[in-house]
Symmetry: C2
DNA sequence: GGGCTCATGTAAAGACTATTCACATGAGCT
DNA sequence: AGCTCATGTGAATAGTCTTTACATGAGCCC
């Protein structure tokens, strides 16, 4: 018998006794399942089935179901940091424009990667038992923190709050909007406006409260 | 044999063949289990065991596990409405003071009733298949909406936004703070301040952004 | 090439949960 | 007293989680 592993490119399907890339396959399977049925409606066995292996195989790569979830959350935070940093783009062309982009990127991530987002924030993974995860989360938050600092220096000293607090306020608002209204399909509530508009308005009002000279950079038509 | 149901007051434990109040007992059991292990770590069978009945008994009262969760979320929204309305107290003695109380009540509910809160917002119950649940949620939100309206009329007309938007902003911020930092024990992130302080500061800055004449009612020392 | 070793996968088994169905019980009404 | 029906039981099916002993073959060393 000689169907060792050369039966065409193993583009997607498993081949032979050894899968070759089971860990990745399981993570991808879990992502699809979570996106479809929420973090609770994903089973270890189903991921194994999807990858074409026995129900026991995943235990060679993850101690248990929770460790797989942690892995997903970890990757989620890493990707989150990347897309947030890209959106912030070091504050170009100006901090306000970049901050607006940042907020939109936040909501876009929650919408287009609901599986990552819920693993990161709604799966109830204990942060204190997983240093790596906490650090990845902190790095993602650091992007927001940096943005807040850069925006803060454009504000009048008199009413300027600690930038950490600004960052927390913006984070909480973005997260609140994302989790209450962010994911279109499911049984979520509907709004008289898009989540993006809601967040942008909130941030503008908030910054005005901190003394931001009125009006966003005039829209170029 | 004659231990029908008279063995003392059935204060807490089940008695005889018929439990007498199984539905309530199951709901209470579920609340404790959810509070302890999150909405996912609650099983129908364990609730039945806690109530001292067979695993099949709960099906006489709830179609399935999800219907029990929906029931909990429904009661959660009802209690939520009550405590929010009580905190708002029709805007006495003045809307700003009452709004501050409202925010604190919001966070207090999330902290002291984590089981209700997570059933309401994190259990992924589809709102569109459960009209009663949606309406209960809407009624709770209506308290916030009313508060926003009352605060809005104290603001200068020029910068006054739709009160619905104000209510949504405040709701999102409160929810964001509650779900990111609100539940003390577990593996949540820690803060350089209390969630209450964080929310109060956010709302004050936000309202100043809407033209609120500076300074909260002077603190009486 | 031949053979060894170890990571990776399988099969089978025990324990638990969800859910259903036929049957038992007894509370409340007549 | 006798009926009836809501409420609870037991047993059975199906699916999941997890462990354990065993199988396979990829990579390496000679």
């Amino acid at each position: 018998m000689s169907w060792s592993k050369d039966s065409g490119r193993p583009g997607h399907g498993p081949r032979g006794y050894h899968h070759g890339n089971l860990k990745e396959a399981l993570l991808r399977a879990a992502l699809e399942l979570i996106a479809k049925k929420g973090p609770a409606g994903f089973t270890f066995a189903e991921a194994a089935r999807w990858a074409g292996v026995s129900p026991a195989a995943p235990y060679r790569h993850f101690r248990d179901r929770d460790e797989l979830l942690s892995n997903i959350a970890l990757r989620g935070f890493q990707q989150f940091e990347i897309i947030l940093a890209k959106a912030w783009d070091d504050g170009r062309p100006d901090p306000m424009t970049a901050l607006d982009r940042l907020g939109k990127a936040y909501l876009a991530f929650a919408r287009t990667e609901p599986a990552y987002y819920s693993a990161m924030f709604e799966a109830g993974i204990p942060l204190d038992t997983n240093l790596e995860l906490r650090e990845a989360g902190d790095r993602a938050f650091a992007v927001l923190r940096t943005a807040a600092e850069r925006v803060a220096v454009t504000l009048p000293v008199s009413s300027r709050p600690p930038s950490l607090m600004m960052a927390l306020h913006i984070w909480a608002t973005a997260h609140g909007i994302a989790s209450l209204f962010g994911r279109g399909d499911a049984g979520r509530r509907t709004l008289p406006m898009t989540p993006e508009e809601l967040l942008e308005a909130a941030v503008l009002v908030y910054l005005r409260g901190l003394g931001l000279p009125d009006g966003p950079p005039p829209p170029k038509p």
